[in-house]
Amino acid sequence: MTTIEYGYACARIRAMKGRLLDRAFFERLIGMKNLTEVVVALERTTYKKDVHEAILQAPGAEGVENGLRHNIIDTFTVLREVVDGGVRELVDILLGRWDVQNLKTILRGLHQAAGRDQIISSLVPAGAIGEAALDELAGQIDVRACLNLMATWSMPYAGLLTEVYSRYAQELRLQIFEFALDKFYFEESLKKLNRRSLDAGLVREVIMREIDLVNIMTLLRLTRGQAPAERKMELFLEGGKQVSNKLYAKLAAMHDIDDIVAGMPGSSFAKSLEHGWEGFLASGSFYLIERALEAHLIGVNVRLFRADPLSVAIIIAYIWAKLNEVVNLRIVVRGQAVGMPEEKIRQALVFV
């Protein structure tokens, strides 16, 4: 992409950034008495069309959530359209997590012989694999047929899934596909980013931070479930920046979560981990640890708005800011719907 084209893409994204909702808007939403008031407030934002349409089909929190989902899909489709060439490839890597999640959902649905409609309603076609392709894959008769179709279309994940299929057929465990997909996504992304350019370097940093977070959470969740060290090691993802294989193995041998929390003093996640751990000790809610780590990751990635304005940094920052905004809106909407106390809602929101 040339600098001029970059300029255009970045200008479009800056304009989109300008439409992101600010903290004051969320404070107003939290203070609202009911969901209807929240919907009325949302109808004065960029979510107006999506929320309005979705709420006609399914009223209440579910309708609003569907509207937010459509908005994310539309926004990222626009994002992919305003960039091209090498930057489109980088955006596809960043949005590739949706492809992985959609493929997992399709395989889960086919594994359990769920209906096509049920599978389709659980997809978020925000990645490189389009809605039509996903619909077709979801409509296959079983997992084997789905893999065959992926191979016919020469989809990047087809070879890998076909490779592990025989093991899946023997053990009938979905985790075989899921771990292979996740591993492939991160490894392939890092492989594609293994070139010397500012943009590739920035995206690589993002992916590496994500790998670190995934590894830390895998350790914490499996340790909580008292899984043996070998099982933890099987799920290790290579390529992280701060959690090396050696550190992971050391932490995997630990049996207490507090030891793991204290076991990464030099890591940039250490402070968030400690914060989440304190929250867990006070409330007993384990997810607070993950939320604290996510907040850290969101913060680091969204702060890329301040980096080079003519680089992929602004795209990374926008993707994370937009995602965070949608999650924050979902928290407020669901919180309002179930009558969650304002303090609990505020605690779950992440602002950068």
């Binding site: 959530e65 999640q101 997992k104 309603s121 596909f177 899921e178 895998t218 979902r330 669901r334 179930v338």
Partner: protein
Amino acid sequence: MEELHTTRTELLQRRQQIDLAQQGRDLLEKKRDALLMEFMKIMGEVLGLSGKLRRTAAEANFSLAVAQAVDGTVNLRSAAMATHGEITVEITGTHIMGVPIPEVARKNVRRTALERGYGIIGSSSRIDEVAEKFEEELNVIIQMAAIETKLRRLGAEIQKTRRRVNALDQVVIPTLKEQVRYISMALDERSREDLFRLKKVKKTLEAKKAAV
């Protein structure tokens, strides 16, 4: 009403029936008391469990709301497809005071994150927590289903026994007693008639004898 023979044999039979009915009533009363004691014991357990069920359901719903908010319903639905499965419950039978009661074997449906079917990477601890809380709720429901069935059966048996005691007390024994009284009266009446007849015959014979 059944035909009543006003005979001495009938009277003896009815008296025997009264004794039998009274014995039956005493036995049924003892059974009812024993069942009631068992019922009250289980009732305490049910009350404790229903409180626990309310608490676990509230916790599960809160976790669900958090996961729906942060991960989204779509992700939750997707994970739910991977964890879909059946739970088999072993049911055997036992007897309490002759009442057949089904025994549901206590089964722990709780699974670890690795056993739930979805991959660890790409899912979140919030989804784990939702699954964990609902599995806990399911455990309580299974426990409660077993005890509640026991309670229903015992309750039905107590009612049945109470109805039987009442029937014996209010209908059968009073009817038998009434019949005994009636037969006794009839027999007394008959003996008085016989006595009167005999006296009359004696008087007639004496009158004939005097005339001769």
